[in-house]
Symmetry: D2
């Protein structure tokens, strides 16, 4: 498989480089707005223990909402199925930062991958502790998953998120008003903004995703049953209101971030990370999404 | 596998028989309301060409919304990707018969498995023809999938649907007002009500689902790519507003009907049908859903 | 007052004639779409028993939703306060033909002046009778209010409404599905479409409104208390989602119709009707709304 | 009129005292929750310059949302019609603290009397100044209206509002995120919480409302045209989602507060204030609303 995979990655990178439309970088915080648009990297960590890549595979980027996968795994480890009393598991049918659903469903976010749900997840991890303690635990989880202690949080990005995060403040205060936040909104949000500001390269992110590949030799951070359930949520809710489309075109569980990164899992076979900072109309990486579709087709990777 | 599978089915049937709560049969039409509650059947058609079953596996029941899978396959065969200009592929985040989403998104149903979307799919199949011509084509498709020309439509159920289908009349007229119905609402609905009234046993339904199992020897009614895409939509949208939950607990693409039937696909391995007429709060078969979860666990069947 | 009022009407008509933008006639049915745009008429029936007018004051037009005022009065006469168990009295906060609210509030329209509410009102009047019997009663009410037995229903308009009324069919079927329609949707809608097709001139409409002017000598068709309450609903709900604006700018209870007519009441003093078929973005007569504001200011007519 | 009015007030107070159900005091902040339930006061300031009252007419209470009337008048004085680019004039069709509407209409509150709209109004008054400067101006306005310099702001109530005002924090941050807040959310909210904490007795509140009674001898704080327009907004939006009902039953422009106070205007004749801290299901004073209806009927006061 190795040669075919490496060829596919190079070919996909080549196609990406020739794109006329690279999408548009997120502009809601200056730190993301100034990331150069024309970058593309892709990496695959296989069940056989190999790592393949192409393009800017060592460049760090802000993983943003991809961090919600790690936070969910950690929160489930801490709270178990109790977490599901505070957040649902259904696709939202609305934008990632919508507050409408929250009012209609009285403060219970529909799933842990929209902002409101991820704030609840982070709140569960925080659990009355100091933010830095909770963040250390989360970072420890991610570092263990990657097998690399150099993973870090970009404080400038976190500070910028806070300075421009009024919509998240709205969500957190609404959750608090509904009785679904245990810590003061400020503390939970402070933790949340830092969690989103974790930086990784696609190589690191591909390695980080291995704990969701059900195969021998992969890092075992959660039980087999939980692994599958996290993948199920990635499949139905991983791309906000374009989750159905990702399942339709790519056919793999995945999670995207506004920094342009996407993590996808090929159950039993591989963990795939792609990054290109330009987003499409749905707020997901434009070339990243296209690359995922091409790779899935080239390797005949699909869960269906 | 055969023995293990047969044991699992018998054990699951045994557990179902001892259920204290069988759910409640659908009551919106008399024909469904008078189906005896305490019935349970399950069947599995494997990629090896074998058929296993337990319980009332030969009793016919109204497949209702499970028919949307066959209608989608047929409509895609007729219209190709043009269908996606008329209906989306995203989970709805609301009830199966909600009209709210339709107004917010100006007459484009979110997916082909909620009622509004299925009415559009049927409208695409009807295409200016007489309802009986379109229904003959659909029945032909289903009979070919099962390999059984005795499959029929229950006219009494169809007539009852029409007599009590005011909410569907509301949806169809709204679609027409939005310009997203090509045939007169009455004709499209007449076809739709008959399509929902197809009757099958779980044995027949399991056989019918084989065309979505990507494996040699299975009936080949749609292309490999389309097969996967239909499964993707079943995964994200197959259980209305409990689709995320089904993916979470069962981990397989599936489609439920208000008659108490559920069809699930184990890619490359099997097609599973279960039936028990009592529904849970989400409108899906209560024991059927539980049986699917048990079978998936017993056989280690999951796409993740 | 007579001279000042006649001067005001002539001056207002003069200004209207010089308008650059006459709005756009309703196009959803051919019968309304072919009404010549540049027409304007205004009439005032005073508590003193005089009738003043300017412009095309004798030209008949389709009163459309203005008929909801008469239907409400009649339905209250038949059902009394029982009517309020089937329809609310609150502004809707959404478009005149929205179905969203109906789903959220389980089939109880927010007020009798949006389409769904008016369909319920008509259903109350129909009450198991033949549509022509109910329509005769309504026409009798209107003729008594005007004091003119020549008022008629335009059958061509009614037929056209039916042929293009899919959105109203959606509303009526939804109401029926919610148990809030007593007659078959087809019969209630047939009655409703005819009621909307009543034709009057502004002179006739101004006379028709006198029963809501609390003053001696006016036709007494409803009790004083009911008169005031109907006016209150006109004030808060009479212009769909522009009711607040009409109250703000004109300060009088009023009701508009998509045919370009508006009826407004000056409590204790006068009934005013204006007509110009071109509509503004809110679906209310553009020049009619402006004329009402000018007249209210010129005569210092306001309830505040 | 004097005697008839005084009799009416005494009779209404007598009926109120005998009420079996006094409603329930607001419990969202401790300061309001501990107000004794069984209190009732009513006062009328007439155009003739007289002041009538009955019950606890000198007891101070937290006027809460009634303050939105004064804030609106002041903001219009500062910004003129520019204010209407930031807030609408339509009834909301939803609860006083709903955030749903705000998302659907991209940060433009429907009217200045729901919380979101009042926060924008306060933001307009604040205008980059120190909160205490803005509050001094508002207090000056209210004191001038009453003709009483002893009116004050209850700091304990304001502090309590802040400590429990997470839903208002959600609204303010959402407005900021939409670009419809000029000052930092914290500053605007600080001002808003203090404004809501103004205390008055019904005698003072009735006097304060005189500037909206269009009659000679009343304090003239805004133009005649603006006075009417404020009354129009009170009529259509003054009681949140029960505004239609208040117009229907009382027939006067009014504004209620969660502290149990209601201010109503009888154009040209009187300003009426009533207070009873127990609220009905809509969040308006239970006995206060009933008293307003009785007084309007007894005095034949209605705008219709």
């Amino acid at each position: 498989m190795s040669e075919r995979l490496q060829d596919a990655l190079l070919s996909i990178e080549g196609e990406a480089r020739e794109a006329e439309d690279w999408g548009r970088v997120a502009t809601y915080i200056p730190e993301l707005a100034r990331v150069p648009l024309k970058q593309f990297g892709i990496a695959v960590a296989t069940a056989e223990g190999e790592l393949f890549s192409a393009g800017e595979a060592d460049t760090g980027f802000s993983i943003q909402s991809v961090s919600k996968v790690f936070a969910l795994a950690l929160a489930l480890g801490r709270a178990g199925d109790q977490l599901w009393t505070r957040v649902g598991r259904e696709p939202s049918g609305s934008a990632f930062n919508s507050i409408v659903q929250l009012e209609y469903e009285r403060g219970i976010p529909r799933n842990p991958f929209i902002n409101a749900g991820a704030i609840v997840t982070t709140d569960e991890i925080l659990a009355g502790r100091q933010p830095k303690v909770a963040l250390a635990e989360l970072l420890g989880f991610v570092r263990a998953a990657v097998g690399d202690d150099s993973i870090f949080i970009n404080d400038a990005v976190a500070a910028s998120e806070r300075a421009h995060g009024h919509r998240n403040f709205a969500l957190a205060n609404f959750l608090y008003a509904c009785g679904n936040l245990k810590n003061p909104p400020d503390l939970t949000l402070g933790t949340y903004f830092h969690q989103c500001a974790i930086e990784m390269s696609v190589k690191q992110l591909a390695l980080a995703g291995r704990f969701l590949v059900a195969a021998p030799g992969m890092p075992r951070l959660v039980s087999r049953a939980r692994m599958r359930r996290i993948c199920a949520i990635m499949m139905t809710c991983g791309h906000y209101d374009a989750s159905g489309d990702f399942a339709f075109h790519v056919g793999l569980p995945g999670k995207s971030g506004v920094g342009g990164g996407i993590l996808a899992i090929v159950p039993g076979q591989a963990s795939v990370a792609v990054w290109s900072p330009g987003l499409n109309a749905n707020g997901n990486s434009k070339l990243g999404t296209e690359a995922m579709e091409r790779l899935a087709r080239a390797m005949d990777w699909t869960v269906f």
